[in-house]
């Protein structure tokens, strides 16, 4: 039984404009999946479908083998969720929010709760509305992890947070991973966080999964080839199998090729007769920009 399973999810808020179209992937215990995509690519929608807040128009989602819309309580008790927005009730005090969550989740771990309270040092008597953004998010994270969920769904957890709070967030999640083998499904625009945390990256683009690869594979199995424009016809480069994206910049073609740098250079030399190509592996952020930045 897999922890999360998306199967051919299709979802459109407006007819003819699908946000997700046949999106599918799955994760097992201990997997950390970083969900990437441009703004409006459907990351939040997908995570809300996983939470059962939205029903896909086609396809199925299974958490622990259960449909989250058919068995909402059973699923939600095993999931921790931190939303992009501040959704904790502002009129409650921090201690009350925690107490409420403690009641709602049977598997609540008070030791972990106490540890995180000390770590985050959020004043327990403060009302949620008086907290800073970072503090409120920390309380949300505490409430999401203190019941030791089997799946942690984080929707843009680091959005708008300072680097120190972000790192704190990351370390808390990693600790949970270490102790429980929790599956983490998170969306983020902070590539550094994705690179630290994620074991696998799913890139959503044009309502579909553009990439679904282990992070290490992205680094070793993909490269950026810089070829002088004069050396080769762009169309031939684009038509080369394994070429994922191509754009021109500063008199050079920048092509993303599904090959390691060395293999890529050999391929370019063998297939297109280009000797002066420079091939290099590239960080996730660059890859993101090269793959989805130029497209619309």
């Amino acid at each position: 039984m897999r922890t999360v399973e998306f199967h051919e999810i299709t979802m459109a808020y407006r007819k003819g404009e699908p946000v997700l179209d046949g999106v599918g992937f799955a994760a097992d215990g201990g997997d950390v999946i970083g969900l990437l995509g441009r703004n409006g690519a459907g990351k939040t929608t997908l995570l809300r479908i996983a939470m059962g807040m939205l029903a896909p128009q086609a396809g199925a989602v299974r958490l622990f083998g259960l449909d989250p819309r058919e068995h909402p309580l059973a699923v939600k008790q095993r999931v921790g969720y931190v939303s992009e927005d501040q959704i904790l009730p502002e009129f409650l005090k921090v201690a009350e929010v925690i107490a409420m969550h403690r009641q709602l989740f049977p598997s609540w771990d008070e030791t972990l709760e106490r540890r995180l309270c000390e770590r985050f040092a959020v004043p327990p008597g403060a009302r949620i509305r008086t907290l800073s953004k970072g503090q409120a998010r920390q309380v949300a994270l505490l409430c999401a992890v203190a019941h030791r969920p089997e799946l942690l769904v984080l929707d843009e957890p680091a959005g708008g947070l300072d680097p120190a709070v972000r790192r704190e967030f990351l370390e808390t999640a990693i600790q949970l991973l270490n102790e429980e083998g929790t599956t983490i499904l998170f969306s983020s625009h902070h590539m550094t966080d994705v690179e630290r945390m994620a074991g696998r990256v799913v890139l959503l683009h044009d309502a579909a999964v553009l990439l679904d690869n282990p992070l290490d594979e992205l680094r070793e199995g993909f490269s950026l080839a810089l070829v002088p424009v004069a050396a080769v016809d762009g169309e031939r480069l684009r038509a080369m199998p394994g070429c994922l994206g191509l754009r021109e910049q500063g008199g050079a073609w920048r092509a993303i090729v599904r090959e390691g740098p060395a293999a890529c250079r050999e391929r370019l030399a063998a297939e297109l007769g280009v000797a002066e190509a420079r091939c290099q592996s590239l960080p996730l952020e660059e890859m993101f920009i090269e793959l989805v930045g130029g497209r619309s």
Binding site: T192, R219, E276
Partner: protein, 160 residues
């Protein structure tokens, strides 16, 4: 243990880890029988996914650099002297490989390149020439940009 990870470089984190452990073993900072930190400890310390650490460890194990014993931390495997030397050469070779490519692309002749290498070795000064010049690591840790200076300094003591 001196391990620094730059998740933002193009090199996978697990490979950065492997390279650094190998370098530390080659340079002698990690001696046979030394224990490596647990996956858990290291992942919390570095703030990276524990799966990445265990992946690096299992590759290291497969390459015969470390040894896993049930219920105990990983330890560095003992190596015969020749193997250690081979490993050092291998390390240097890995960082020289891009230089070779660059020399080819720049059209620098083999003799010129070797001369340049010799000259640089001579300029860097102290010691090592008698040992064949190959155990001098040059600059930097492989994989990560930081932390190399310590590795370079400590390699002095255990030179053959």
């Amino acid at each position: 243990m001196l391990i620094v990870v730059d998740p933002h470089s193009g090199v996978p984190v697990y490979r950065q880890l492997m390279d650094q452990v190998k370098f530390h073993v080659a340079s002698g900072l990690l001696k046979p029988g030394d224990e490596l930190p647990s996956t858990r400890a290291l992942s919390t310390e570095l703030g990276v996914n524990p799966m990445t650490i265990s992946k690096a460890y299992s590759y290291l194990e497969r390459e015969g650099i470390v040894e896993r014993r049930p219920g105990r931390p990983l330890v560095v495997k003992a190596l015969p002297g020749d193997d250690l030397k081979d490993r050092k050469l291998e390390q240097l070779g890995e960082s020289l490989a891009p230089t070779v490519t660059m020399a080819r692309q720049l059209g620098i002749g083999d003799d010129e390149a070797v001369d340049l290498f010799r000259r640089l070795l001579a300029e860097s000064g102290d010691g090592g020439a008698a040992g064949g010049g190959l155990d001098e690591s040059g600059d930097g840790l492989p994989g990560a940009s930081a932390g190399g200076s310590d590795g370079g300094a400590s390699s002095e003591e255990d030179g053959p």
